[in-house]
Point group: C2
Chain length 401, copies 2
Amino acid sequence: MNPERFLTTFHSLTNIGWTEDGVLRLALNEYDIKVREELIKILSSIGVHIMVDDAGNIIGELGGKLSDAIAIGSHMDSVPYGGKYDGFYGVMAGLEVLRSIKERGISNHSIKLIDFTNEEGSRFQPSLLGSGLTTGIFDKNYVYSRRDKDNISFEEALRVSGFMGDESNRLMHMKPNYYLELHIEQGPILEEEGYQIGIPLGIAGLSVYEFTFKGQSSQTGPTPMDRRRDALVGASKFVVSVRDHAKKQENLRATVGILNVKPNVYNAIPREVRLTVDVRSIERNRIDHTINEFVNIAKSIADDEKLEVEYRHLWTANPVSFSDEVISVIERACKELSMRYKFMYSWAGHDAQYMTKISKVGMIFIPSHLGISHAKEEYSSDEDMLNGLRVLEKAVELLNS
Amino acid sequence: MNPERFLTTFHSLTNIGWTEDGVLRLALNEYDIKVREELIKILSSIGVHIMVDDAGNIIGELGGKLSDAIAIGSHMDSVPYGGKYDGFYGVMAGLEVLRSIKERGISNHSIKLIDFTNEEGSRFQPSLLGSGLTTGIFDKNYVYSRRDKDNISFEEALRVSGFMGDESNRLMHMKPNYYLELHIEQGPILEEEGYQIGIPLGIAGLSVYEFTFKGQSSQTGPTPMDRRRDALVGASKFVVSVRDHAKKQENLRATVGILNVKPNVYNAIPREVRLTVDVRSIERNRIDHTINEFVNIAKSIADDEKLEVEYRHLWTANPVSFSDEVISVIERACKELSMRYKFMYSWAGHDAQYMTKISKVGMIFIPSHLGISHAKEEYSSDEDMLNGLRVLEKAVELLNS
């Protein structure tokens, strides 16, 4: 591979949509369209066959001696005021792999590069719409009827963009044998612990629950401290317990993100607090077990504070495990390149999780400076990016042999 | 005094403005006007001279041999969906005292009955507008320009009501020698501890501060538990500390009533939490000292959680002490009537606090069932109301001798 070509291409193209507050390359907006056209221009110039499916996913195919395919993918859309790296890095690295394979002659397997539409879920919710439709997880009507904040449907945005492709181009019909995705970590672990490469074993699942603590409102003045039924005191104990409980354990994340108080008046004791708990783990039964513990903690706090507590399930996404075969190949690539690597999990969602339905999947992570992501401060060094690219290229070479 | 006459008058008149959700007798609304007219009708029928000042306060005067006056007062306005007792009880008890003094012949001192306008501050903010203007604490322009939620000014409401009186009738010009106010406790102490009468030594002061905890927002997934700067965890520790700190002490109340989270999204670690702390004590330096302790607690929590914390003063109302002479007279009245009484503080505001500027002031409390107030469930028994009335009458008799 050609490090200079990769870096030049990456840095010039990721500036499409850059503002002083971050990248504004929301799915299928003017900047996303522009960068897609640039990608297609380069792929076409080296003889890659371009297909677009009915989710607007771009699939570039470099033919090989065998029909089995190795796919590399990621996404070029960003969150509002996002970073320059994120999914964009993965697509640019895949492009460089195709360019260098092409230069070396004819590939053994067919090699595919995929740019998935609307990975972020910032313009159209939920996230992973492109990979969800192309793998058959989402229904076409569901995907097409998603609307952005200006009430434009996904279908309309796709038509206007010029990237309305054909259902026959869906990846579920091609079923690539392998799927690889290179991404920034979006967390601080690799940098802090001095690793060059992270090898995710899978993607964590999550369950989100709502808890409501109910007490008795009264005037703050005349109600003595020991006669109160203050819903906010109970909820606050719970917030701290949730964090402390999760902090004591490995590979568990639990967060209270939303918290609303009633009546929310300075001189009234809070009568009701409603909050959400987001619990993540790589093991589904660990999530369920943790939720049970949180329910018990909430009940015990409610008893102590003379409150009532209710809870309800909002939604769950199951954890995903990557292919042992692909993980081994990535590890072998790291070893052959003398990279310091660490097995870990992905705690954020990626298109890779839906690709597990139709392919053997693996991911490669590189360090994120300070763990910051989805912000203009997002940064990974050129050296780290080149390390990730080398591992990706080596893994493809091993799978392609 | 005539217990039956008092109870009949109280129960029939407090139904003016009663709905199935509570009393709707907001200051100068149709129900408040109706009940004011009924009060004036009764007072006039027994020869009481009626004056109205420029705040709409009604001052009924029963002449005596001496020009020094003993004033009894309270208010008949309610919060939205309030209780039947609250200030209304105090006015009705004062009315019965005047009726029975009139029946017994000529009083030694002049006896005044006052119904203060807009005590609650529910229709026009702040509270105590009537007593504030008549004692010279508030400026006339300030009081007249207060507006309700329909943008009606206090001045306009006063004119429409027919209770626009004369500035020369302000109590600051008459300066009654003594002022007595009988009220429900609005807290659970007297009932729980088996007392019939509470004798407040004064009214607690309060300071309200705003605290803001600032951390770092990031995705709940990829950010490990021990790398977080979660503003909600810090704020929650603070909420619990404020309660625990105040609970350990006598005669101190501290409450977090308002708490708002940013960005308040289920999968984002909270970056900012803004909350209010309402601190009350009978001693001003105790309030200031407690605020200092809370600032230190907040800073210590912020350090532990790697957060920043800011705070600012919103407002302060100084504590008020009642007259030792009047307190002694009320105590003597209780003893002569063999009442079980308890010295305590008023933790809510009353017109009595502004009356301390121009008179020697004392208050009398009776038990509130379950401590509930400002709600339709507010309740005090006829027996308790009569006990309070007897103490008020006896105290007036002692002052009048």
